[in-house]
């Protein structure tokens, strides 16, 4: 008998019929059935082909936000989200990232590995700032893909003084405020590579697209994204 990593309820080893008949080993039960069912997989619903968000009947594909990105971006980029960023996922993120419960990486590690490996691309996680690293003690993205091969090709640039934000247009801001730079020595690795960037959440898309643009500028031939939540 073990306890659910999220709610502490005791879990009996649950082996379903599909586990009995499949060749895979039974899934290790890290969280209970009730907690698991609160998360909503995006593979089961129609999603935006560019950002991976869940589409409602009123939305177009690509979604409105992605159409805007398409107009101003000079590169192609698409993202896949594994889970809807619903209330359960928000709670999970706040416990994992902000409370800093590093064990919670185990909840989605296996699924992240499957998704990331399947792309057969060079895996590049989004980095965290030094300040965050000092407080949190871990990079939450790296935690999620701890069991995969990846390269730390990106690093945050030291924070600069925000200069007259409001005077700039959205496009200008996007171009100017690049928050990342290439880790020195990574030039050859990135050049001509097919890359998948990994992040924990895709919210506005700004962060991951900054990273994509930088990697394209460094000579990557194709860049896509995978995020745990969208």
């Amino acid at each position: 008998m073990k306890n659910c990593l999220l709610c502490q309820a005791s879990i009996r080893e649950q082996i379903g019929l599909d586990d009995l008949f499949s060749l895979r080993a039974a899934k290790p039960t890290i969280i209970c059935q009730a907690c698991a069912s609160a998360f909503s997989r995006l593979s089961a619903t129609p999603v935006c082909q560019l950002c991976g968000r869940k589409l409602t009947a009123a939305m177009t594909d690509p979604c409105y936000d992605c159409q805007r990105w398409e107009k101003q971006a000079a590169f192609s980029f698409s993202n896949r989200g594994l889970y809807d960023y619903n209330a359960a996922m928000k709670t999970y993120m706040s416990r994992y990232k902000f409370l800093g419960d590093y064990r919670l990486r185990w909840v989605f590690m296996t699924e992240m590995k499957v998704a990331v490996t399947r792309t057969k691309r060079l895996v590049v996680p989004i980095p965290v700032t030094e300040a965050t690293m000092a407080i949190r003690g871990f990079n939450q993205v790296v935690g999620l893909i701890d069991n995969c091969r990846f390269v730390n090709a990106l690093t945050p640039v030291a924070a600069t003084k925000e200069s007259n934000q409001s005077a700039k247009s959205r496009a200008d801001r996007l171009l100017l405020d690049q928050p990342f730079k290439l880790v020195s020595g990574m030039e050859a690795t990135v050049k001509d590579a097919k890359i998948v960037i990994v992040d924990d959440v895709y919210t506005t898309g700004t962060t991951i697209r900054h990273a994509a643009r930088l990697l394209y500028q460094a000579g990557a031939t194709s860049v896509t994204g995978i995020t745990l939540a969208r």
Binding site: L99, Y102, R103, G137, F138
Partner: protein, 440 residues
Amino acid sequence: MINSISDLYGRQLSELDVPQKLLASSAVHQRKAVVVGRSITCSRCGSTLERRQAALPNGHYYCYVCIQMKRMDTRSQLVFADEPNQFSKPEHALSWKGQLTPMQAECAKQIVRIFKNHQRHLLWAVTGAGKTEMLFEGLNWAISQGYRIGIASPRIDVVIELFPRIQAAFKTTSMVLLHGKSDQPYRYSQLTICTTHQLLRFYHAFDVLIIDEVDVFPFSGNPMLHFGVQNAIKPTGAMLYLTATPDEQLLMQIKRGKLSVSYLPIRYHSHLLPEPTIIKVRKLEQLIAKEMLSKPILKTIRSLVRQKQRFLLFVPHIKDLAAVSAAIGHDNLQARYDTVYSADPTRLEKVSAMRHNQLDFLITTTILERGVTFPGIDVLVLKADNEIFSAAALVQIAGRVGRNSSRPFGKVLFYCERKSATIRTCQRQINQMNQRAKKL
């Protein structure tokens, strides 16, 4: 935010929350929050940590057990200042003018003695004994000594209901209510009313510590919260446990002489506890799954509604709520009713609607087994033989009935497939208390 040294008296906080100028003070002490030795232990919650689970990639270790109170790791320091008892010592702080029954008065005197002698004691009082009022004399004495006092309960509902009653009785005493959902800021006060989780933020603070409903989840069987209690009380402090249904662990401590005990087997209105009636019904589980209820149950519900007799209908699982509610709906019953469970976002509103006579009955999980009082109700328990209902839970549920002196009796109906050992234990416990009461 921590501004003055008084915010640190008898507390233990992360050094990250304490301003530099206070950390430099000679009255402020520090100790490591997570200590790595032969094993890894957390000084705040007392847990021994598993290396693999506690490890951070930067070589440090964190405590995953008390993490909901903000993370402590091997870099963190717990900051504390000795409790100086900076309180006025009013001769008579109690403004309550009510009357205790002779039995209650006896208990109240005993509580004063326990506080004076710095004892560890369990007051085993039946449901509806009037525990809070019995504390007043002891609290009054402790306040007059300039003691720092804590009253804690595992259940947030209990502390929320308790605070205004204590405040009304001690109008001039400084007091603070602390729980996870409160936005009331911390204030150094003579009286602290809080959930047992909050005790983890205290260190050798209380001269008197009272734990109400000590047998209930999450306190019962949670070593972290037990450690928190031991840490929060001064080594010389007096400890008083209150419950109607002590668990094995408490009974064991009594046996070993580590805890003294006294009984209050009779309710304040001197009537006996209502004893449950066991009604065997067949296939209740399957019927409920099909949104149906047995005829006799529906008949009882109908007749209660017709007599305007309000009641609580207990079910074991959250999923039973909708099914039972639907079953009653299919029966075309003209009644006002609702369902409630612990994580129900409108739980407080529904309980309040029941309290204000806006509902005829409420279908509930064990969340309403204690802490809340609806005068003059009956209770029905469906699947009373389900493992969710512990003997203590059944005793508490039965204890919802007959609390008011205007209707000191009422129906307690346990519907079950078979009379389980747990149901028998519940019956025995109620019966024993009633036997004791009859001898008084």
